[in-house]
Symmetry: C2
Subunit: 323 residues, 2 copies
């Protein structure tokens, strides 16, 4: 009888301990504090069935900017560095004239000449230089470039520069039925050459500055080529791209600069209880500290109860998976 009682107590104890084991910290790289609490409180509220803030699964759309929000963008973003290398290889193949502007300035890294020419025109003309490449050739070049260009400070490749706390947050959201989308001003085909694998999402869930493909049939065989027509996906174009591609207003958004202001503003203005995070680069010791072009996103966070400032220094116990 005594043995029986001890066994019963053991079973009751084991059962009562189960909830503790199940409640393991879903954000271990986030330090305890007001931001982590706000994220977890919001998630609990919007997934509580019959609760006042409940968001049905179909509306659980989460959008993340890529460079500087989800992964390290310093000392220089991958996309434009890759494209300058691609210009060099097309010059070697005789497909681009190295004396012509803006290619001469791109090759010489002559920022004054590029500024005088106009940055957006310089980028558009560079993109036009890739017209005629197949989509596959461009993507393969991007992948090959990523594989041979480790980060100058950390020595790892671009896909390993995703922030561990942001990956944990994406995985937590996905585990609660959210669809995670990347919405970046960077080149879509470049971002798609590594982000889908690194984040385990389909390529269609990576929205960026895109080039209209051109369909052509050569002896009846269909080809998709890059054209010279490019659509910018920065700043105020992000909400429109979200409406066109996703077709729903997000209920979660994360960004790191004024480039994300419109996206976060659009998210916060919706009828659901939304959450917006501004990733603030204030950790020069472990990453980089910079503030340029963040005044509007900072003001937005200051004016919204559902907007929060993530201090990389204060809120993240760990920044990279390789640490």
């Amino acid at each position: 009888m005594r043995t029986y009682r001890i066994a019963l107590v053991a079973v009751v104890l084991a059962l009562s301990l189960r909830p503790v084991a199940a409640a393991a910290d879903p954000l271990p790289s986030w330090r305890e504090g007001p931001v982590k609490t706000a994220v977890l409180d919001w998630l609990a509220a919007v997934t509580l069935e019959n609760g006042p803030d409940y968001i049905p699964p179909a509306e659980r759309i989460a959008v993340f900017d890529n460079d500087g929000t989800s992964l390290c963008e310093r000392p220089h973003g991958g996309s434009s560095t890759f494209q300058k290398d691609l210009v060099r290889s097309l010059v070697r193949e005789g497909r681009i004239d190295p004396e012509r502007m803006p290619f001469s300035a791109w090759l010489a890294d002559d920022r004054d000449a590029l500024r005088a020419y106009g940055w957006s025109r310089a980028y558009a003309d560079m993109n036009a230089g890739f017209a005629g490449m197949t989509l596959e050739a461009y993507r393969d070049s991007a992948r090959a470039w990523i594989d041979r260009n480790p980060h100058p400070r950390y020595g790892v490749l671009l896909p390993d520069l995703y922030y561990r706390p942001m990956r944990e947050l994406m995985e937590l959201l996905e585990s609660r039925g959210f669809m995670v989308w990347i919405v970046t001003a960077s080149t879509q085909d470049f971002a798609r050459s590594f982000a889908p694998d690194a984040l385990d999402i389909p390529p269609g869930q990576v929205i960026g500055t895109w080039t209209e493909p051109e369909y052509r049939e050569v002896d009846g065989r269909p080809l998709l080529l890059r054209s010279a027509v490019q659509h910018d996906n920065g700043h105020e174009n992000k909400p429109g791209a979200i409406a066109t591609r996703i077709g729903r207003r997000p209920v979660f958004a994360a960004g790191n600069s004024n480039n994300d202001h419109a996206m976060l503003n659009w998210t916060l203005a919706g009828p659901r209880r939304a959450l917006a995070l501004w990733i603030h680069h204030d950790d020069d010791a472990r990453e980089y500290a910079y503030d340029r072009g963040t005044d509007r996103i900072a003001a937005l966070m200051g004016s919204h109860a559902n907007g929060h400032v993530v201090s990389m220094r204060r809120d993240w116990a760990r920044i990279f998976a390789f640490e």
Copy 2:
């Protein structure tokens, strides 16, 4: 003992019957014949793990044209009829001048005047007339229009005009891990006002002719408005839109006219064993019979082992769910 044996026999019998029950016809509205066999054989081959034609789940992309392929498009497509009604209501609100071309011709249904003006220009100008509407207002107008415009012959609403055999095929594909996308030349925002609900897919999986949204802030409050800039999603633009939005080449495609030729050709030319279906309208008794603008898609089906002609008369036992 005898009772025991009978019970055992019953259990064995019940177990042996289970596979038969599980193998219920997944395409009950399709008549037995070469097309149904080809579809089921292809699906079995591409989902057979370690088989020579195996397609990994991430690549299981299926694209369906909408009007005339997935649902009835006769006697007139919904999108342009709705837009003509929208012109009328904007005229009543004083927002469109009814004397101006092409609106005067649209209102009078003067096809000669529209042809002289140029069809694509006439459609583009009509779309420009909707610039400034919020995306929500356009979508709500579309829904309201659909609800008050039953089909003149069948008496049911647009969402009920989806073909039962195509719904069965979509559901079968989804049950095998395929992602089903609608790729239509019709207006994206019109198609999204009913297709996602009718087909149980997210709005982002409906790709159509789209209007660039314009982001504006009024007293800090963000708005998305329709602009005058429209991107046609017909014909040779379909493969490019698929690459831009989905980011993968489909392995299944269905269409009903030359408008889908490029999409089916692009699908069939991929490295995987793909399947393409041309829905041929040859059933005047139960639906409509028409052939205009189908010579190129017919020729494509004739030249590809993996392309099949679906005769609505011969291959479909039932066309609509309401029958």
